[in-house]
């Protein structure tokens, strides 16, 4: 698996064929884990993780609960600090420098969106720009732009999160993460709590969005279908270890026992789902 040259990603979703040129800069992965371990007491959560995320790709961390995938994600924006090893973000170790700056440059989306219940949709979306001291009319403009981008009506801006549906809340969560236009997005099971139809819709829109924005995305899920559909590569994790790193196409055919076990558990018909990442 080569990631260090530009690749053309082709895939079909809803009968539409997409082609995206994934720019992969050989020298500079957007995110790199070097010999990263993490333990709490005697519990080894992550064991010697080595992983590179290319700029513009969607790397899916797939695994069951307790496999260490969420911890891996949180290591990137320093919500968790490694016991040993280094995480490089845009080429520099993320433990050097200001943690607040680091986090504001990385979008973060979590399950159930984690929206502030006492903020309107507009204030939720404008959170990081406001923290960054943008001017009020620039924030308003950006908020409107983002509402449109994630497919929400402008009049929703003044609503509160509890007045929205689950799918709408999750869209607001994505819009909030994109507000200050970060290069990197961390998404922690963002669609897991949605009903199947809404999830399908949001996955589809995620693909459209990613086609336009080319963000570097690290996406955590336990759902193989979601991983195959959204990922340019899938990192399968089990018990704190990276088991294998494959494209969706490779994953469905893989002989690796863990990958094969996943494919079996999710039954047939996965070939058609798999994202075609061709070089």
């Amino acid at each position: 698996m080569q990631i260090n040259r530009p690749r053309l990603r082709l895939w079909t979703d809803y009968g539409v064929r997409y082609a995206v040129l994934v720019q992969a800069d050989p020298g500079n992965p957007a995110i790199e884990f070097r010999n990263v371990s993490y333990r709490i007491g005697n519990n080894q959560v992550l064991v010697d993780l080595n992983l590179r995320v290319a700029p513009g790709e969607t790397l899916v961390l797939l695994g069951r609960s307790g496999s260490g995938k969420t911890t891996t994600l949180k290591l990137v924006n320093r919500l968790v600090s490694p016991s040993s090893g280094t995480i490089l973000v845009n080429g520099s170790p993320n433990h050097e420098g200001d943690v607040i700056r680091l986090r504001r440059g990385i979008g973060y989306v979590i399950q159930e969106a984690g929206l502030f219940p006492h903020f309107t949709v507009a204030r939720n979306i404008g959170l990081v720009p406001r923290l960054e001291g943008w001017e009020e009319n620039r924030i308003t403009g950006r908020t409107q732009e983002l509402l449109q981008l994630v497919g929400l009506a402008p009049e929703l801006a003044d609503r509160y999160p509890h007045q929205l549906s689950g799918g709408q809340r999750q869209r607001v969560g994505v819009a909030r993460a994109l507000a200050a236009d970060p290069e990197t997005l961390l998404m922690d099971e963002p669609f897991a709590a949605l009903d199947p139809l809404t999830r399908d819709e949001l996955q589809h829109e995620f693909l459209l969005l990613q086609q336009r924005l080319h963000k570097t995305v690290v996406f955590v899920t336990h759902d193989l279908r979601e991983a195959l559909r959204l990922g340019s590569r899938i990192a399968l994790m089990e018990a704190g270890k990276l088991v294998t790193l494959l494209t969706p196409q490779e994953f469905v055919k893989s002989e690796d026992p863990w990958a094969a076990a996943y494919v079996r558990a999710f039954g047939g018909g996965l070939d058609s789902v798999a994202n075609r990442g061709a070089s």
């Binding site: 607040i100 680091l102 979590i110 502030f116 909030r176």
Partner: protein, 210 residues
């Protein structure tokens, strides 16, 4: 009707004692908030301090009011003026509900919301002022409400050490075995308690997060 006549005849004194009472309760509740809310915030973030602080506030709460007034009487600066002493005692009693509710309010904020805020690059003080306190405000205020209502009742005992307030009527009435005089203290006190309950309760509902 003789009670009504008594109130009308002594209306200046009723008014004066009511204002004294309000002063004792108001000033002590404000001080208790100034001490209790920061303490509650601290123990919500530093689990180590949680038990000792709450235990101390609990122990204070179990001291009978009359005994606490007695304990504090020999303290130099305090004992010089009985209203100082009464205010200190009322502050001590008001601390527990305020600390406990501040702790509970902040502790009860959805962890996912805090983590989202932190992950988006909010500093700890931005999290406190923009997320934790606004979301905990109604719970904190319900602690203040309990404290204020308890204080209205306890402040009547302050008259025993000469700190004034509506307790004056109650103690005088007890000594004179005159129900009218007791009620002249008790009824305004009850009204004050209801008023405190109502006004803080109103503020609490206004601040309740949706």
């Amino acid at each position: 009707m003789s009670l009504l006549r008594f109130l009308i005849q002594n209306h200046t004194q009723v008014l004066q004692l009511t204002l004294e009472h309000l002063w004792l309760v108001g000033i002590s509740t404000i001080f208790a908030m100034l001490i209790g809310i920061p303490l509650g915030i601290v123990i919500a973030h530093r689990a180590r301090w949680n038990k000792p602080v709450l235990a101390t506030a609990n122990i204070i709460q179990t001291i009978p009011a009359l005994a606490l007034f007695g304990f504090l009487l020999p303290v130099p600066w305090l004992g010089a003026r009985s209203d100082r002493l009464a205010i200190l005692a009322l502050i001590l009693y008001a601390l527990l509900p305020i600390i406990r509710n501040t702790y509970a309010g902040i502790h009860g904020v959805d962890a996912a919301v805090i983590e989202a805020g932190r992950g988006m690059g909010m500093t700890e003080s931005q999290l406190l002022y923009q997320v934790e306190l606004p979301l905990a405000a109604s719970v904190i205020l319900s602690g203040v409400r309990i404290a204020a209502v308890i204080s209205v009742g306890l402040a009547t005992i302050a008259a025993a050490i000469g700190a004034g307030g509506l307790g004056e009527f109650i103690f005088r009435g007890l000594a004179m075995v005159d129900d009218r005089v007791i009620l002249a203290g008790a009824i305004p006190a009850a009204i004050l308690a209801l008023l405190a309950d109502f006004t803080v309760g109103w503020a609490e509902r206004r601040l309740r997060p949706r």
